[in-house]
Structure formats: structure tokens, C-alpha cells
Amino acid sequence: MNHRASSAPPLVESALVERVLGAALAHGADFAEVFAEDRRGTSATLDDGRIEELSSGRDRGAGIRVVVGDTTGYAHTADLSEEGLLSAAQAASAVAHRGGRALAVALEPSSAPRSSDVAILPEEVEKARKIELLARADETARSSGSAISQVSAAYGDSRRRILVANSEGVLASDDQVRSRFMVTCVAVGDTGMQTGYESAAFTVGFELFDMVDVEEVATTAARRALTKLSARPAPSGEVPLVLARGSGGILFHEACGHGLEADHIEKEASVFVGRVGEQVASPLVTLVDDGTMGPEWGSFAIDDEGHAASRNVLIDKGILTDYMWDYLRAHKEGRVSSGNGRRQSYRHLPMVRMTNTYLMNGESDPEEIVAQTRQGVYVAKLGGGQVNTTTGDFVFGTAEAYLIEDGRVTEPLRDSNLIGNGPEVLRRIDAVGNDFAMGGPGTCGKDGQGVPVGTGQPTLRITAVTIGGTSSD
């Protein structure tokens, strides 16, 4: 536990929180909640060989949620004074039409562990040290090859202190510190321009740079751009696909992660409705969502509803075991939240979100998986993806991919999207390696809100998936 972080005064005094909850409940309500947030951040960008800008900012405020029957009222304010909070409470409680019943709330402070032990708070690090990382990355990327024509690098840190209290007596707080570093390169050749990207991001402080080497991030980004200069167009049509360890956890995030969020289930907007207990994937698939995973990008101590992060097995050896839950959906089903209630900021209502979602190790030798694939595509790095949870159709893009010919990884391929149907692709996984690794950090967007998430998987093979290239030979 970091004593500097935890000794900071609370965002809002408990006595005031109790008065605000009381006001929120005054017109009659089933549930009321105060979510206060204080976020500070720094970002710095290097582009075109110059430090273009150092930026810093602060956003602070609170959101009040009031639930009456099936209706939720929400209001937020940047004013954390008693006046500001009470007026937001009044606005949120305007949904309540039942007569007033004065309710007193007694808050019970919880002692959830911190999401990770932050060794070096970014705000205590000199700005010059943050800038210096960017120049190092630029130099390394440019020296990776004469074809590298442009480099941009970005550093970012954020510290997000939150406090959540609700009418069920919950009072919890967290101090979430995140740091990230990104490099994008452009390479120019006879075939035009190609780009390469790499990032490193963890729920840690400035010690990120003891964990990762900015030169390595830069080299990887440059290598990806350079490799694609000689890439051929990706094939068009169905192919066997091998995903390298840590390259494509986004596959599961899209193929079934979103479809297992209880808000989609409640509205029957998911292909996984009513399928708990059924075989929904190959027996090789054991899928976990885990907000407690140390310094990973999607980790935290408490979610944005004050519930402790937890590890939830979603699919066990191919059998669907459970969905992911926030307070509201869990409450309707008479169960407890799974610690998946998250929101982008105090301006947003919480909803069901993933944390770190990963596929557990299998038993295959990763090299054997490739060797036993006669023809196909090998993906070393996936980009983003998107899913329609109702139909289960999803896409995911390649950022570094190669052909597999006669069991060997050969020529590089230009970027393309792959498309599949969640339940179908999960059934088509016929080999899972024993070489688990977490993949790159991501920002998951849902309903206009972005939250940090992690993904991971060992090497695996899908027997057939459609790749959207232009080459028909």
C-alpha cells in the first residue's frame, strides 16, 4: 500500500456524503449513489522530430444516481461543495414520484486493497524526465532503417481518485494511477507508405519505465512499419488462422466478451442469451475476466460502483458459466455484482464493462501449432475490433500478419480486417498453446464511453475465419 496516496483527504467528507444521499432519497427511491472523481493527467507528444507539446489537466466532479423502480435518474456537477452536490441530488431524484420517506444512510467504509502498489507517483516526477523518454524513442525509431520517414511518440499519465457511496451503506475509494507510452512510425518505399504502432501501458506510476524499455517500444513500432513495406495484399476468403501469444486477446473481447455483458443479455441483444450451462465454445476455451490482475491496464481495486474487483470465469472448458454484472443488472436478478460496473468519468452512468479478459493456457506447443498448419495466416499483432452483439458478427484488424505456407511463417501481409461470428469462431478453435501472454493495452468503447481494458491469450488456431484482403490467389 502506498501511504502517500492513501493519506490524501477524502474527495468528499463522509458526513456530507450522507447528507447528499439523504437528499437524493428524499422523494422516495430504491437506490441512491454518489460517485466523486478527481482526475489529473499529463501528456506529452513528440512529432516530426520535435517535442510539440506538454499538456496537463484536471477534471473533478461528482455524479449522483437515483433509481426508482425501473428508472434511473442521473445528474452530475463539477462543484463538490455541499450546494453543488445537493442540487445535483435534487436533479437526479426528479425521476422519483413516490411520496417522500426520509431515509438516513449509515456508511460503512470498505477496505479494498489498492489496485496496484504505485512506487513513483507521476506528479512527483519532473516534467523534463518525461520529455526525455520521447526523444530517446524518436532517435531509436529513426535509426531502425532509412525508410522510416516519420515518428511520433506520446507519453501519458493519469491519477484518478474516486469515492463511491450508496444507500446500501457502501463507502469505498480508490486511487488509480496509470501510465502509458506509444510510438507510431511511417515507412516509405516503392509501394507507398506503411505504418507501425506499439504501446506499453500499465496501472502503475513512473516505474513503468523500469518495466519497459522505450527503445524496445520504438524498435517494435519501426519494425512493423518496415516489414509491411514489402508486404503483399492479404488473401480474400476463408483461411486457417494462427494468433501468436499476446497478439489477439481482442478476438475474445469481441467474439464473446461484449455478448456476455449482462446489460446486453437483459435486452436480449446478445447471441449468448439463455445459454449459461451450455457448450458455447471449443472445450479448449477457458475464458476469464479479471480486474484484480496486478498492474495490468484494466485493473482496479474497486469498480466505479464501489464493488471490489474480482476474477470471474466466463467460459470453463467451453461451457458458458456466467455473464458479467454491474449493480443494476445484478440487483434485478437478486445476485451481487461481479465488479464490472465501470464508467468513463463522473459525467457518465456506469454500465457493465470488461476489465482484463483473457484465454487460459492450453497444452499445445506453439511451434507445433504453426508447423501443423499447412496453409493459413499468422497474426503477430491484432489491432482493434468491433462486434454486433445481437448477431454475434465481429471484425478485428491485423497490424502485423504473415502467410503460413507448408507449416512455416513466410511473407508479410498488408493490414486487413478479419470477420467472423462469435459462437462459430469459438467452436472452431482447435489448438491452444501453453505460452500465455498478456497483449497490448486497449481502450474499449461502448455507448460513447471509453475505459481501459487488457486482453491476453496463448498461441491458438482457428480452423477457418474470413480475411478481408484483396488478393484472390
Binding site: A91, S236, G384, T390, F394, N417, G469, T470
Partner: protein, 463 residues
Amino acid sequence: MIESAVKPTADPGTQGTADLLELARKVAEQARNGEQIEAYVSRGVEADVRAFDGNIESLSSAASAGVGVRVVSGGRQGFAYAGALDESVMAETLTEARDNAGFATPDEHVGLAEPDGVAPVSLDLWDESVLNVPTATKAALALELERRVRGADPRVRQVAYCDYGDVAFESAVASSTGIAASARRTVCSLSVMAIAGEGPDSQTGMGFSAGRGHDDLDPARTAVDAVERATRLLGATKAKSGRFVVVLDPRVTSSLLGIISSALSGEAVTKGRSFFAGRVGEDVGANALELVDDPTDPRAFGASTHDAEGLSCRRNVLIEGGVLRGFVFDTVAARRASTVSTASAVRGGYSSTPVAGCRALLLSPGGLDGEQIMAQIGDGLYVQSISGVHSGVNPVSGDFSVGAEGLMVRDGVFAEPVREVTIASTLQRMLQSVLHIGRDVEWLPGLAAGQTLAIGDMSLSGA
């Protein structure tokens, strides 16, 4: 719709944007010798209502405000922002921006915009009804839309979401280099996702309606649109791979133009990050292609009197007769390219700095509507929606590969529905292969209008 008379304003800002401009000025006038300061302040109120199963599922109302300050000194820029407008916060933000400026690399091109003598057009983008209409009326609109969707067709199984949303937004920017500008706009919208089903098959269709005020919203048409889009995909299968003419739905065309706009950013061009770099004066598209960014057109949702640096917006011709004519520039990118700003600075809000970007793209309409274009092409694929734009399209290399769903077109009319396929090409080739540009212009939220667009020779990947 252009009006010269300015309507009186109500809260937010009972006195309009004058108080915001005053706040921005107070920051800007603190510039020291050899220093430039710009303050951007904004304020907005929003309401969102979600209906589900005949009830109001959620109702949020919010007011937010913030300030972003840029300080330039010795060719170095620093930036800071805060989500509040109290005096102490503004002072702290200025101090922080000043401190940050010390860390940038000196660059002779860096500096704030200066007034360029172009007078602003007069636009009325503000509809008081957004602020005056009671919440109950807003909720009733969402409920009506949901009811209409559920009642439109027996195959409608569910409504994934049904939302009403509005925003009234005001901003002002002032600088020590003589900039003083303010703007305000309202937007309100309805959006709904219908789920239609038959047997084990479920398909989705999105409908929406948007405008400056309540009178612009059309729940009946929105419901029909969502339901038609969902039901016509029922029974969709994966098509066989091949090369096809594709006909893009107006909304897909709008997304495509949005992607192309990143390659038209003067900043991307000067930094060698656009496939258009070095091609001004060259043929980059079919002869009929004319692309203009005109934020002074009040029909555009991105319409604005001023850009994010406070210069008066103007009409910029980007592609004419298939020939690349130019790019959009903010002040710094323009100086770097030895040209002048096209008043195309955009910013994501008070927490970000201005960058060059488009606001109101429109392809000059051709002579045919959507149905006539399908009749002309005979056989092809009608693309109703695309997915994976962020993962499969690269505006630097031009590589284009996205997920698609829609209907095959045979003998000029809709045939069987298609799902789980991709369409691919390169942006360069797609621009050259434009066959028809629809006259059916739809003004859509976002930075580009939509219309039916037919593009030849794209790769469809499916079964």
C-alpha cells in the same frame, strides 16, 4: 436558414456567450512581453433519455464547463486545461500552461492565429426549444419512438436502445494576438436500434433523426427506417467471395468521407502522413468527383461561424473534377507548409489543442437518386453498414478493409441479404473507381454529409 438577426439567449448563459468571451479575454490579456496566450472556454448543457419496454430506463441531465489555455513563448507551446471556470482554476491553468511551454522544442512555425480580415458569415445554429422544452416532453419523444418501433412489424423482437439526446453548447476563444470569437449551437437527436427476428435469426437496424431543435425530429420516419433496415437483413447469409460494384448507403458514404478527411489534413500532409501528400494538381479521383468542406453551409451539422482558433470559417474546395486542389490547415500546419490557415482548426473540447480538420464535407451531388443508381449498375452489393473502420482502414497507406452487411443487387433491385463479409480496396483506387454520386444528399451528424455512392471493382471476402 441564414439569419442575420441574433436571437436573444437564455440559460446557459442568460446573457449569451458574452460572459464566456469576457472570461477568455481576461486570461489572454495577461500575456507578458514576448508571450502569446489563447484561452478557449466552453459551456454546455445536455439531456439524455433512454426508453425501454414502455418505461424510461434512464434520464440524465448535465451541465459542464471548462477552459483550455495555450501559451506560446520563444516558438514553444504549452497547454493546460481544467473542467471548471472559477477564477482560481483559470489562474492555475494559465500558470501550468506557461510552465509546460518551457519543455517544447522551439519551432519558428509555432504561434497563435492572427485575425486575417475575413468576416464571419451569420449563422443561426441555436434553437431555444432544446432548453425550453420540459424533460417530460423529451421523455415522451423517446417513448413514442420505442412504441412505434415495437408496433411497426411483428418481426420486431426487441429494442436494443432507444434514445433521445440534446445539447446546447457555447464556446469562446480569445487571444493576445487579437482573436475574439464566440459561437453557440444546439443539436437534438433520436436514435434507436431495432432487433428483428425470425426463428433463430436476429438482425439489427439503426434509425436516427437529428436537427437543431425539436421540430426537426421525426419519430415516425426514424422508426420505419430502423425496422426496415433490420427486417430486410433477415435470412442474410455469407456471400461468395468475388469482385463487385458496391453501392454505399448514404451513412456509409459519410463514414468513408470522414476517413478520407484525415488524409486531407494539412498537418498530416506536411508531416508525410497522407497518401495525398505532394499530389496537389494531380488526378486523384473520377472526373465527376468534387469534394468541398464548407462550414458556412447552415445545413451541415458541423456548420460554424468560426474555427477553433477563432478565424472565420470559409468554403474550401479540396477536390475538383477529380483533381486534388488543396488541404485544410490550422495556423501552425499552414505556416509549416508556407501557406495560410483555411480556418479549419477543430478541437475535441476544452481539454485538447486545435488541429487541422474538416467540419462539413459534401460531394457535389450527381443526377441520380439511390434507386436509379442501383438500376444503372445492375448487379452488385448494396452496403447498408460497415464495421471495423478503426481497425481496417489506414489513411496513411490508404489500405481499406471493413466488415459489411447489406443486400445483393440483381437486375437493379435488392436481392438476397448478406452478412459477415468484408469489402476491401485502397482509398486511392476507390476514389478513382467512383461510378455514381447520388443526388440524395442527407445531412448527418458528424463531419460529412451522406449520399448514395457507387464504387467499382471492390473485393468482397466471404465464404
